[in-house]
């Protein structure tokens, strides 16, 4: 499970996250929604330490991530080597430009296992093919990203993230940049992952999809979680006026 406590982050003088507390249970899917600039993407990026944060703790299965308190009480970043190890337990998929254009689809998926986890080539290849088959793209394994549609690229990106056998999958608006007709195939892949009971945190604007796959939805505004609850609670029975306005606008 993931425990976030008291997370605060500023960009210069602007406070982007004001004390986030969030628990994610094993196998739980949490969706983060909110207006642009509310901090949902920043929160996601703090979880896998693509952004540094000034205060707060993030724990994965009991281990403190990213910062350690030294014996004399000073808060220090973990070493690069440690950070890499910690990152391998999480997979992330971005909105676009995920894949490395100079490698085939299969090589993209294999990159992590082979060079970060030192899995043997044979094993990695078998794993890669299995995952590509799972996202429906085994036939394209020798193609280059430029030859794939946006939806296909995103599916490969998901396979690549899964190749690391992560404990949690972080998804940053993965369908926002896609043409509408391609969104479905990506959402299908996410649906199929629910049975794996892997933790997922998704930042999304697709409220219908969030209702379907998320166990809980968190609505963020101005760097804080204003409301947190089941999809039915958040989307059908919103309490916060800001959330009500947000839902009205988006629908």
């Amino acid at each position: 499970m993931i425990v976030v406590r008291g997370l605060q982050k500023s960009f210069g003088t602007a406070r982007v996250l004001r004390g986030i507390d969030l628990d994610i249970a094993d196998g739980e899917v949490v969706a983060l929604i909110g207006r642009s600039g509310c901090g949902k993407t920043t929160l996601l990026r703090c979880i896998n330490f693509l952004e540094e944060y000034e205060t707060g703790e993030i724990r994965l299965d009991g281990e403190d991530l990213w910062y350690r308190a030294t014996p004399d009480g000073v808060r220090r970043r973990v070493s690069e080597v440690e950070a890499r190890r910690m990152r391998q337990q999480m997979g992330i998929v971005f909105q676009q430009y995920n894949l490395f254009p100079h490698m085939t689809v299969l090589d993209n998926v294999l990159l992590g296992p082979r060079f970060a986890q030192r899995v043997s080539t044979a094993e990695a290849e078998a794993l890669g093919r299995r995952l590509l088959a799972r996202v429906g793209l085994e036939a394209k394994m020798s193609a280059y990203p430029a030859q794939l549609s946006g939806g296909q690229q995103q599916r490969v990106a998901i396979a690549r993230a899964l190749a690391m056998r992560p404990k949690v999958l972080l998804l940053d608006e993965i369908t926002s940049a896609l043409d509408p007709e391609l969104v479905g195939e990506v959402e299908d892949v996410i649906r199929s992952l629910l049975s794996d009971r892997i933790m997922m945190v998704l930042v999304t604007h697709a409220l219908g999809f969030a209702r379907e796959v998320a166990h809980r939805i968190a609505y963020l505004a101005e760097g804080a979680i204003v409301e947190l609850g089941s999809p039915a609670d958040i989307l059908d029975r919103p309490k916060d006026p800001g959330l009500k306005e947000f839902l009205r606008r988006v629908r």
Binding site: N48, L50, R84, R85, R87, Q88, M90, G91, I92, F94, Q95, Q96, Y97, N98, L99, F100, P101, H102, M103, T104, L111, G112, F115, A116, Q117, A143, Y144, P145, A146, Q147, A157, R160, M164
Partner: protein, 218 residues
């Protein structure tokens, strides 16, 4: 045309090409090092990089060459114009290529950096499998441009008595006054070298593009 001129010019051209080749190889190695400095964590190192590039790009090549040429005897290095000239050319090419490489690194879209970091790739793997291939593809056209500039720059070294194509031509002219023929031939040699490098570069670019990389960039 005075007898033996063609052979002399051809030899001169070979020397020019050799000078340029050494400068490009040396300059590329230097540029990789410099580009690494340009992205250093330490502000002082980054500032040093900027100063280096500013000075080398803001001073005419001839002035740099003369400075090294006249300064070397003072340092008790009796190595002559060839070493001085090659050194200056390497320094010059290195500065230009460092800026080219730096631009290439900056052109890599952010999500690709972050994907590589998120996969937990160790630094060597990240360089070998991600940074180097991408930067190579992004920087091929400007790199070829700098190669052509280096061949042309080698002619400046004639002024510090490095014997290459331009000096060969000038010597023949001062002997025989066949200005148009000799300079025309010299121009033809340079043209073939420079144009040739440019075409080779385009061929290589097309070869890389065929391997699926359709030039997609941020």
């Amino acid at each position: 045309m005075p007898p033996g001129s063609l052979a002399l010019l051809a030899q001169g051209a070979a020397v020019s090409l050799l000078l340029a080749a050494v400068a490009i190889v040396g300059g590329t190695l230097l540029a990789v090092l410099l580009a690494a400095l340009a992205f250093s964590r330490f502000a002082v190192v980054r500032a040093a990089y900027r100063v280096y590039v500013y000075v080398v790009r803001g001073t005419p090549l001839l002035v740099l060459a003369l400075l090294v040429f006249y300064a070397m005897p003072a340092l008790d290095l009796r190595t002559g114009p060839y070493i001085a000239g090659t050194l200056v050319l390497i320094v010059y090419t290195g500065a230009l290529l460092a800026e080219v490489f730096r631009g290439g690194v900056l052109a890599i879209p952010r999500p690709q950096w972050e994907s590589a970091r998120s996969l937990g790739l160790p630094p060597l793997a990240m360089f070998r499998k991600i940074v180097a291939p991408l930067v190579t593809r992004y920087t091929l056209p400007p790199y070829v441009n700098v190669c052509v500039m280096t061949v042309k720059a080698s002619s400046v070294l004639s002024i510090i008595s490095v014997w290459e194509l331009t000096l060969a031509a000038r010597e023949i002219i001062e002997r025989t006054f066949a200005v148009f023929t000799i300079l025309g031939l010299a121009a033809a040699f340079y043209f073939v070298m420079c144009f040739g490098i440019d075409r080779l570069g385009r061929l290589f670019e097309r070869h890389l593009a065929l391997k699926g990389f359709a030039g997609e960039r941020a």
